[in-house]
Structures are given as structure tokens and as C-alpha cells.
């Protein structure tokens, strides 16, 4: 899903770039204000973690594999704005170090994977948590749904950008991308849920999005 140079038109790139840079600026101001220097090594190491985790392919069927996106996981663990910063760093290193994703398409890639895949999906997660009863099971269920959606929405945005640029016709590209990534999204959902469930068991204090009901905490204590 890393768009190279030239696939997305300049006007689409310009718009997504402005949105991405603006979001990153807000995230940087917030990171500076709220957490200061302590946050810097943490965000850096988390970016390296997302990078390493993306290298562990998961099987889809019969030997084909997809790789983990990690934007929603980062949002659950660090908060949505920090996750956007982490994804920006990951995409920058992938673009510069691996020629994976074009330098002019960096704005579009961050928009798809950081903003839509991270921040918007985190909004979906929060909305689901408002509706669902407050328990560990429903938290994990909401995580699964939101992470599946994050992959799907990121792919749909990618298809829409390509369609708007005239690179591929939307009525074919959108269903094709959505179909493929709804399958890959199942893998993303399984993995994100497994990660969140394990971290909740071992270090619940690290899951920023997890706010147990007061009585559940009392029972646990």
C-alpha cells in the first residue's frame, strides 16, 4: 500500500500533504507540551518496533502472506496523535532507506496509513467502546473491528486517491482493493487483538486506550 512517485496526481498529493503536515504539526506540539523529552526515546523505539513488526509477515492462505500495518495498534498503545507521528517516522525511513513509497507521495501515504488507518480508526474504536459494555471482552472485540476497518479504510483511501488521479478507474479499483484488503484486514484484526490481549495481561498500564470500569478494577485488586 506504499504508493510510489507518479501514481497520484500532484493536486491529490498536495491536499493530502497539507492534511498530513498539519496533523503532524498538532501532534508535535502536543508531544512537546504534554510529555516532553521522555516521550522522544519511547516514540523512537516504538517506530522501530512498528518497522520490525511489519517485517513479520502473517500467512493469509496457502503460502501467500500480508504484513501488519500497526497504525491502530500504535494508536491504542500511545494515543492517536503519537501514533500518527510514529507512522510518519516509519514511512519516512521506509521511503528513504528502502525506496518503499515515493517521496512526493509521502503525504498521501501518511494520510492513508497514519491519519485514516490510525486516527480515524481510533475514533471508530472509541465510538464502539461508548456503545459496548465496559469489559475486557468488548474492548478486544472493538479492537478487532476497528483494526479490520483501519486496513480496509486505508486501502479504500488509496484506491480513491488513485481513482481521482486517473491512474485507475474507481469502479474497478475500489472493489478490488477493498476485497483484497478486507481479507488482509482479518489478519490485521487477529494480530492486533492478540497483541492487545497479551499486553493487557502482562502490562495493562501500557494500553493507553484501556480504561477499565472502576468496579472491575476493585474486583481485580
Amino acid at each position: 500500500m506504499h504508493i510510489p512517485d507518479g501514481l497520484v496526481s500532484n493536486s491529490v498529493n498536495a491536499v493530502t500533504c497539507v492534511v498530513s503536515v498539519g496533523t503532524c504539526a498538532v501532534a508535535l506540539v502536543r508531544a512537546n507540551r504534554d510529555l516532553g523529552e521522555r516521550q522522544v526515546p519511547l516514540l523512537g523505539v516504538t517506530a522501530a518496533f512498528v518497522f520490525a513488526a511489519q517485517m513479520l509477515n502473517f500467512p493469509v492462505a496457502g503460502g501467500t502472506s500480508g504484513h501488519f500495518l500497526g497504525a491502530l495498534l500504535a494508536a491504542i498503545l500511545l494515543g492517536p496523535l503519537n501514533a500518527c507521528l510514529v507512522m510518519a517516522v516509519v514511512l519516512l525511513i521506509q521511503c528513504l532507506g528502502f525506496t518503499d513509497g515515493g517521496i512526493t507521495a509521502l503525504g498521501s501515504n501518511l494520510f492513508n496509513m497514519g491519519i485514516v488507518g490510525g486516527i480515524v480508526s481510533y475514533g471508530v474504536l472509541r465510538a464502539l467502546l461508548l456503545v459496548l459494555p465496559s469489559s475486557r471482552g468488548s474492548f478486544l472485540a472493538a479492537t478487532a473491528i476497528a483494526s479490520w476497518l483501519s486496513t480496509l479504510l486505508a486501502a479504500a483511501c488509496c484506491a480513491i486517491e488513485l481513482g481521482m488521479s486517473g491512474t485507475s478507474p474507481l469502479r474497478v479499483a475500489l472493489p478490488a482493493m477493498a476485497g483484497a484488503y478486507s481479507l488482509i484486514g482479518i489478519g490485521e484484526a487477529i494480530i492486533t487483538t492478540a497483541v492487545v490481549s497479551t499486553v493487557l495481561t502482562v502490562r495493562p498500564d501500557l494500553v493507553g486506550a484501556w480504561r477499565p470500569a472502576p468496579e472491575a478494577e476493585l474486583q481485580g485488586a
Binding site: D5, G6, P41, L43, V45, F58, I190
Partner: protein, 256 residues
């Protein structure tokens, strides 16, 4: 593992390697923007860009095989986009090829779209590759910092750069341990194993980050990293870059 996989040949010595990182970064970015904005029919302009990049490649003394291998990584995405070409509306049918199934046809405009994305993706990747293979990553970040990219972003990136090697190593050790326990890696329902591995990787990296931060505090970390010796921006290099820029702009303007 190979600890220099991000900037494998950045420590070679050549006129291009000795250039200041700021100059190279700004030039590469502007060059890619110009390339991407060139209309697809401007074949001469693309030939000119390619000649410029190839002469830069000769000047940089990078191994050609390495460059080709890296450029090939762009092709899968371009190929995936090419699947949709036969479905494009065929306003310009002249010179198209009918595939004979269900009215699908490869029209001339479809071919043009494919050529457009192929050449731009390749030239863009080529420019970025030349930039990063002639500049060590820390120098690149230092150059970006001196170009007023926000300090926090630079610091996060330099931390990430340092720890990628450690964590990728860790991930590979975990994958080796998993494989030696007969994990078959074939079907989607086996994915939770990967999830547990990623969870452990996260916990280990988080705890490592906590230890690193404490160790840094103990060594007097005050929120800024000691800067490396910055490169110098020679007037001669600027004049050279201006000369090449004039050529690029001329190529771009010819295309109008």
C-alpha cells in the same frame, strides 16, 4: 544481520558523497517534484532526466546491480496498478489492442497512463536512492535538521534509526525460534502466533526504551543529542547545483 541495510553504500567516496546533505536533499526533492509534474507525452524530457540520473550514478560509483535491485522493488506496486489499465475508459481507441474478452481493451490512453506511472515511479525511486546511498543516514537527518525540520521529529527518527537494527535482529531471532518449533506459516488461523510474537516484541522494546531513557538521563541527557560535525556548503557545489537545476528546468519547460 547486515547493519548497514538502510544506507549500504553511503560510506563510499565520490564527488557525490562529498556534497553537503542539505544541498542533496533539497535538490532530490525538487527534482522528483519536477519529474512528477512533467506530462506523460514529454518523452524527451524523461530521456533527459534519465541521462542526468545515470550520469549522477556514474559519478557516485555505486554498484549498478545494487541500484537495479532496489529499483525493482518499485515494480510490484506499479504492476498492481497496471492490472486496472484494461478497465480504463478508452476515449482514444486508435492504436489500442482489444483483448477480446468482454469488451476489455488496452487503449492508447491506457498505455499512456501505464507509461506515466512506470517512468515516474522509477525516476522518483532512482533519485531518492541516489540521495540515500550517497549520504549516511545520520548526515541526512542532520541536514534535514539544519533545513529546519522540527527537532522532535528528527530526534524520534534518529532513535528509530538506531533501534531498527536491534529490533529487527530481535524479530529475526524470534522468527527463527518459532520456525525451529515447526510453525508452518500457511493459513490465516495461524496468525495469532504472529500476534503473540509482536506483543512480546512490543513489551521488550518498550522496556528497552525505558532502560535506554534512564541510561541516557544518567549520562546527562537534556533533551538534545550531540550533533555530528556538519558538512560544509561550498560555493562551488551551489553553483554546480544551480547549473544542473537550469538543465532540469529547461527540460521541463521544453515539455510544455
Amino acid at each position: 544481520m547486515n547493519h548497514a541495510f538502510l544506507d549500504a553504500h553511503a560510506t563510499l567516496d565520490s564527488p557525490l558523497h562529498r556534497l553537503d546533505a542539505r544541498l542533496k536533499t533539497v535538490f532530490a526533492l525538487c527534482f522528483v517534484v519536477v519529474v512528477v509534474s512533467t506530462p506523460a507525452q514529454a518523452y524527451c524530457a524523461f530521456a533527459g532526466y534519465t541521462v542526468l540520473l545515470l550520469s549522477a550514478l556514474v559519478l557516485s560509483r555505486l554498484p549498478v546491480g545494487f541500484v537495479l535491485k532496489r529499483l525493482a522493488l518499485v515494480l510490484p506496486f506499479v504492476g498492481a496498478a497496471a492490472i486496472f489499465i484494461p478497465f480504463l475508459p478508452s476515449e482514444t481507441v486508435g492504436g489500442g489492442y482489444s483483448l477480446g474478452w468482454g469488451g476489455l481493451a488496452v487503449s492508447r490512453s491506457g498505455m499512456l497512463v501505464f507509461w506515466n506511472i512506470l517512468v515516474k515511479a522509477l525516476l522518483g525511486a532512482f533519485s531518492v536512492l541516489l540521495l540515500t546511498s550517497t549520504t549516511p543516514f545520520p548526515q541526512l537527518l542532520l541536514g534535514m535538521a539544519r533545513l529546519r525540520v522540527p527537532r522532535v521529529l528528527i530526534m524520534i527518527t534518529s532513535f528509530a534509526y538506531r533501534y531498527i537494527f536491534v529490533l529487527v535482529d530481535e524479530a529475526q531471532r524470534m522468527a527463527r525460534a518459532r520456525d525451529s518449533r515447526c510453525y508452518s506459516h500457511r493459513w490465516l488461523w495461524q496468525a495469532p502466533v504472529i500476534g503473540q510474537m509482536i506483543a512480546m516484541l512490543f513489551l521488550r522494546s518498550y522496556e528497552r526504551a525505558e532502560r535506554v531513557y534512564l541510561a541516557m538521563l544518567a549520562r546527562g541527557f537534556d533533551g538534545s543529542l550531540p550533533a555530528e560535525k556538519p558538512g560544509t556548503l561550498a560555493a562551488r557545489d551551489c553553483v554546480c547545483a544551480c547549473g544542473v537545476s537550469v538543465v532540469v528546468v529547461a527540460l521541463r519547460l521544453c515539455a510544455l
